[in-house]
Amino acid sequence: MSTPLSDLMLNDRGFVFDPASGETFQLNPTGLRIVRLLQSGLSHDAALTQMVSEFEVDEHTAQRDFSDFLENAVRLGWRIE
């Protein structure tokens, strides 16, 4: 059982409510940005490229953190397409 990103309720402060499971989450600003980019329909690669262009981060670090983040999200019950 997992909830697609599009069903999650979130606010601009990164607070997330999963209406299906009743669980709540907190994203930090970078995490929130990734979720927004994916929600807007970008592919993983495109989202990653966008992150590197928006934030002061090198590609190596961004990539490591990006896949870590997604892995974590999946473990927490979110469906990442």
């Binding site: 309720m9 606010n11 601009d12 402060r13 600003p29």
Partner: protein, 388 residues
């Protein structure tokens, strides 16, 4: 004094209730226009959502993070919600605050707290010395710093044993395994030492009061616990008047020259036929609103005592025969309130919209919850109270 601004902590009234929510109720009885600032350690503290709860709520750093973190947070809160009086209700918090008297005064905050020495003389690991100096009995009570010491004490005292944290939590254990688990958990949560205490058989009594800092007692209310939960919490109590118990409390408070609220936990030891001291807490108990309902309002008296030049007349005694039973109720909140309280500080610099996108249209949030950077003002708070 008509609309004092008072900060209170410890608002949870779950299985192991904290005193804050009761204090808020008592304050509202006396000062209907008080502006109450709740200082909380968890967004799910039930008192946040109670109808007669605080006007505004701020999350605080744990006392274990130290004075700098505490004062930094306090300053950012005071900027938004000025406060005249502070009533801390958690032992660990008080342990930190007694080091900060000057810093609090500088910020215009009034408190009525014991000093470091008083606090330490009543600490659970110093109970035997205290009991000795005032000639009251105390069950075998020993601090332990590691498991080996705990096992040695258990071998000597036998089971069952009470295992207590320095500042919070107590558990009765009957086996070595349970002792091991309890000690380790307490070390993790409340640091070393843990305190082991021999179990006593007999009825339990509690005394609630206010010490004047010179050895005198401004008010005292004694009860016998009538319903005791599995965790040893009093779910019910009845007021009593026993000169021996009064004498017991008077001696302790005189020896400590206690300043501020206290709760003395005692038992009538069946084996010895006398009162024995279980512990002294540096704060009001969770049932502090019970005497207020009888017209003897300890939290209101405390606020008066914090006004330097006003010493209240001694409070009358509660007549014996009044009782309370704890009545647990549900309080309702909305996910948006949780959102406001749990949003991390990363966002303080960002502009934010409060509503959750996609949220089903909900009942309007009954009051804004302040998370630190904007939102509720005193007028919001009053508006909210008047709405009820």
């Amino acid at each position: 004094m008509h609309s004092p601004r008072i900060a209170v902590s410890g608002l949870h009234r779950g299985e192991n209730p904290q005193p804050g929510a009761s204090i808020v109720r008592s304050l509202r009885r006396r000062f209907p226009n008080a502006f109450i600032v709740g200082l909380v350690y968890d967004a799910l503290e039930s008192g946040i959502y109670a109808e007669d709860g605080p006007d505004v709520v701020y999350p605080m750093p744990y006392p274990t993070s130290g004075a700098t973190a505490f004062l930094q947070r306090l300053d950012s809160i005071l900027e938004k919600s000025p406060v005249d009086y502070l009533i801390p209700t958690l032992d660990a918090e008080i342990e930190l605050l007694v080091h900060l008297e000057e810093a609090l005064t500088e910020r215009g905050l009034r408190t009525y707290l014991p000093d470091k020495e008083m606090l330490s003389h009543r600490a659970k690991n110093h109970l035997p010395e205290l009991a000795k100096t005032c000639g009251v009995a105390v069950p075998d009570t020993r601090p332990v710093y590691d498991i080996a010491e705990a096992l040695a004490v258990a071998a000597e005292c036998g089971y069952p044993l009470m295992v207590k944290g320095q500042y919070y939590d107590a558990k009765m254990v009957s086996t070595e395994q349970a002792l091991f688990a309890a000690v380790f958990k307490l070390f993790s949560e409340w640091g070393a030492p843990a305190i082991l205490q021999r179990c006593v058989r007999g009825p339990e009594f509690n005394a609630l009061g206010l010490g004047d800092g010179e050895g005198g007692i401004v008010g005292l209310c004694t009860i016998r616990k009538t319903i005791i939960s599995n965790q040893g919490k009093g779910l019910g109590g009845i007021t009593v008047l026993d000169p021996r118990l009064d004498e017991f409390c008077t001696r302790l408070i005189r020896a400590l020259r206690w300043r501020g609220p206290f709760e003395i936990e005692a038992m009538l030891d069946e084996a010895r036929g006398e009162y024995v001291l279980i512990e002294i807490n540096p704060r009001f108990p969770a049932w502090v609103d019970f005497p207020s309902m009888l017209g003897i309002n300890f939290p209101a008296a405390l606020v008066q005592m914090m006004d330097v030049d006003r010493k209240p007349a001694p409070l009358p005694r509660c007549a014996p025969g009044h009782f309370y039973v704890r009545h647990q109720v549900e309080v309702a909140g909305h996910i948006e309130q949780l959102a406001a309280l749990s949003t991390s500080a990363d966002f303080e610099a960002l502009d934010m919209a409060r509503s959750l996108e996609g949220a089903a249209p909900s009942a309007p949030t009954p009051f804004p919850i302040e998370m630190g950077d904007d939102g509720a003002s005193p007028s919001n708070g009053s508006a909210r109270r008047h709405a009820h």
